[in-house]
């Protein structure tokens, strides 16, 4: 699979997974598994950041169409895609050769979890602020934390599926 195809492949897989598999699942009626956040987080510094930014917005918009929240997820995912290069620089992940994907298996457990959890939390807080504004309360933050923790678990598992094989992208 060549590089440009990979952007669209992961876009499509995460979109279908979110809409068909994870959107209907609400653990205990309240926890939402937000797997689509993984899309911008898959790529390292070598990836075309403009393309990732644009595709993140498009993915968010598609998710919005299916959850009656037009503008909410697109804005949040766009924000994540925007801060991604800065956060990557902060974590000092070194890209391996010319591949565009982060190879999670080569990082330590704490590096992977802290990177994913930080991004998921930022995304969740962004959504909460946009959705509830000044009415934001402790209950919302608690549910946001639950969403983040369970999304983190799911995303860690899903990220394995995208793990590049040696000598590929």
């Amino acid at each position: 699979m060549n590089t440009s195809r990979f952007y669209f492949f992961s876009f499509l897989v995460l979109f279908l997974a979110q809409v068909l598999l994870f959107r209907p699942v609400q653990l205990w009626g309240e926890v939402h598994l937000l797997v689509y956040i993984l899309f911008p987080l898959l790529f390292n510094q070598n990836a075309n950041k403009i393309l990732v930014l644009f595709l993140s917005f498009a993915l968010g918009l598609l998710i919005d169409l299916f959850s009656n929240t037009i503008g909410l997820h697109s804005s949040a995912l766009l924000f994540i895609a925007f801060i991604r290069p800065t956060v990557l620089a902060f974590f000092r992940f070194k890209p391996n050769g010319s591949q565009i994907l982060i190879r999670f298996s080569e990082l330590t457990f704490y590096q992977v979890i802290s990177y994913l959890f930080l991004m998921i939390c930022i995304h969740q807080i962004y959504i909460l602020i946009l959705n509830h504004g000044s009415q934001l309360s402790g209950i919302h933050l608690l549910s946001g934390l639950k969403n983040s923790l369970f999304s983190l678990l799911t995303i860690r598992v899903v990220a394995y599926l995208f793990e590049p094989k040696k000598n590929s992208y």
């Binding site: 809409v19 299916f66 009656n68 766009l78």
Partner: protein, 277 residues
Amino acid sequence: MQNLVHFILKYRFTFLFIVLQLVAWWLWFSQHVFYSYAFSNGTNAIVGTVSEQQATLDSYWSLDKQNADLASENLRLQAEILSLKHQLFEQTDQIDLHSSETNTTFIKAKVIGQTKRQGNLYLTLNKGTADGISEEAGVLSPKGIVGRTLYVSEHYSLVMSVQHQRSHINVEVGSKPWIGTLEWELDATGYCSLRSINQYAQVDIGDSVFTNPYSTYFPDQSFVGTVETIALKEQDQFFTIQVKLNQQLNELRHVYVIQNALKSEMQTLENQIIDEY
């Protein structure tokens, strides 16, 4: 000019972000856009079909619970039939079995989507104008009241549930009965507040709450829920009553839309007062 182009190209990542972010915010904060989309969303052909398929899949997961609910409803209906038969037997000549006096039709529909926006809960149903549903029609479930239709397209409808800050429903409680308004406060999932009940009213915890004849959307005596807590704040003439809804909306699958053929006629008549006086 060349400098400007150079500047934009240099910071194209940031510029693209700002432009797309403004678009997203505009979509999100503009109410008009939301409503037109919310409507087309739950209701447009592709999304509607996918939602419908998902709802079918969902209903398999909750079949056990649905079965139990149906069985208990069946039992209640059987008991009702028995008692009605008994009444009929006792006073055959006094019972009017002709039920068209209310001119109401019940249309069965399936809940295919739930949306929360700013805490308010909306439901999408798989029936629309083609099935005889109009806007502002009441929605009931076998266990209690659900809400009223807000927008209706040919095959789908969007319902504003009782868990909505703009929902106000006329209800009654207790033996007298005492009349009040059922409202919803943010985040009180499964509960509503009963307002305008005078502090001298005799209301106890566990009392049943029903709709009353003044309710435009629901038939008289539709079950709402039971009184959970009663409080009286200082220098307040009215009780603060919390009502536990009998129908928990997050597990809702099947509903009935109440279509009153004469409602528009009634409203036209009532509106004349506003026009004339």
